[in-house]
Amino acid sequence: MLNQILKLNSKIFNDDVEKNSTRQGFGEGLLQAGIENDNVVALCADLTDSVKVNIFADKFPNRFIQIGIAEQNMASVASGMAAMGKIPFIASYGIFNPGRNWEQIRTTICYNNQPVKIIGSHAGLSVGPDGGSHQMLEDIALTRVIPNMVVISPCDYIEAKKATIAIAKTKDPTYMRLSRNDTPVITTNDTPFVIGKAQIVFVPEVGLAHVGIIATGPALYKALVAAHTLEKKGIKVKVMNLSTIKPLNENAIIILAKETRAIVTVEDHQIVGGMGSACAECLAQNHNVPIEFVGVRDQFGQSGTPDELEKHYGIDTSDILEKVAKVLKRRV
């Protein structure tokens, strides 16, 4: 059952569940952050409407910089603006930002430790028909490896909005990963959000859980659907929303592993270097339990509908159920 304390969307398992995109949540959150703080500025590389920076740009034209198709310049210009006291948000598709401009992010943003907020939209296989060139599946790996960086991957429209407002208030270089598509709205305005705090969004009705599913981004919905199915079969599950991937909420992950003694991680990203890897690094050092990973297995994507791609590349609900069965067999 949904964890009642978190006041999640009670209609999440209905067929007509409300949907919206995390990029839309970001766009609205950025407007709010801009209203709250004059120092918030936005930079975009010719994808302003697509990554929803237009909402901010319309309201604050003097605090919006159109950089052109030049993501490397965008990252370093933002660093310079931050050095003058601004809180710059740089937004593009994840494949270009932090893909194209990784070294600029490392040197001019993170090495300088400037509070630039890097927004990578259209991440994951869910971009669909645009094909493998545009399906950013390596961004979590690319960003979490850099010192000083905070990495956030909100699960839905509302959480993306809250996360945007929250990261505008910190001094940390931050990467936030967004998706293109409308996905189920899991949280509500009343659900708490704190950077760095994982949440158990699904719990057994009674007793301890036998498996813990840790998910990040809109893939959390698939984890919830899987948990809902497992619950009906009498398998006790806890599901964690790990929306901050760095700094990792190690305590919460260790507590979940101690209770369940079996973990499955779920992400729309390469397994190598992703959120699941971060959890594995933590558990290998602190509380070693069997872990199974749902994610893309060292492959590039291709054109197709998101559903087709998620089935083909093994990040669908059925894959989560399969991995749960597998990890339960390994459970000691």
């Binding site: 310079g80 003058m84 040197t107």
Partner: protein, 281 residues
């Protein structure tokens, strides 16, 4: 025109000579580092820190200071030595260059030395940061004080594509508060810039991107000073000063030799150079 007096020029020449001596001493102590560019840019750094910049060595983070971004971070011995002579930190500290725990990292790191505006080293990134500073300064109404953003770049680093992304943006945004000085010394690691990757006519290139362009002798204090003064007439454009310099300027035997780009003098070489500079006083 604000002309430098003869006595001011003499004073600057003496200071530059002392800074060159510090550069050679610190590089010799470090045992590695970049000599040619540091010595070649000494006159420009001397003029900036001892005449041009609005700054306060006793209050390095003064909000209204002019910003100086060193894009080609490898010539940091000249930045460190000039800042030390200007009073930012003790000259004795220069000999900690490149040593473990030193504030004077092999390439500047502002987490170690907050007096530098940016960390640098990887080439082609400083101009973008200076452009960001110039844009931010313009957005901010409280900064109408009119501080300037200076950016020092090498010529070899103009090979980087990111430079031209920043050049386009500065032209588009009409950043008249941005002054870039290119160290046109015609050398880079693999040899002559025109052989490695021809830059051809830099003035024409920058003009076509809507920059106010000047070309000067980077060792003539009056020319450097006049060029900076002339940027007031940039007519709303960002300014580029192409400073023709001699790599390793001040040590005759090394002048113009690209092999000195990335090496430090040994004891014997340093002694020879010091005695040459001592004779100039």
């Amino acid at each position: 025109m604000e002309n430098l007096s003869d006595s001011k020029i003499q004073e600057l020449e003496n200071t530059a000579n002392n800074i060159r001596k510090s550069i050679i001493e610190m590089l010799n102590h470090a045992g590695s580092g970049h000599t040619a560019g540091a010595l070649g840019m000494t006159d420009i750094f001397t003029l900036l820190y001892f005449h041009t910049l609005k700054h306060d060595p006793k209050n390095p983070l003064w909000e209204k200071r002019d910003r100086l971004v060193l894009s080609n971070g490898h010539i940091c011995p000249v930045l460190y030595a000039t800042m030390a002579h200007a009073g930012y930190f003790p000259v004795e500290e220069l000999n900690t260059l490149r040593k473990f725990g030193s504030r004077l990292q092999g390439h500047p790191h502002r987490e170690f030395l907050p007096f530098v505006e940016t960390s640098s080293g990887p080439l082609g990134e400083g101009l973008s940061q200076a452009v960001g500073m110039a844009i931010a300064s313009r957005i901010d109404e409280k900064n109408i004080v009119g501080h300037k953003i200076y950016c020092m770049t090498g010529d070899g680093e103009l090979d980087e594509g990111q430079i031209w992304e920043a050049v386009m943006l500065a032209g588009k945004e009409k950043l008249s508060n941005l002054i870039v000085i290119v160290d046109r010394n015609n050398i880079q690691i693999d040899g002559n810039t025109e052989k490695v990757m021809p830059l051809n006519n830099l003035s024409d290139k920058f003009k076509s991107f809507n920059w106010f362009t000047q070309e000067i002798n980077g060792h003539d204090f009056s020319e450097i000073n006049n060029a900076i003064y002339n940027t007031k007439n940039s007519n709303g454009m960002p300014s580029i000063i192409i400073a023709n310099t001699i790599p390793s300027k001040g040590v005759k035997e090394w002048e113009g030799d690209y092999h000195w780009h990335g090496k430090a003098p040994n004891d014997k070489e340093a002694e020879m150079a010091q005695s040459e500079l001592n004779n100039k006083k």
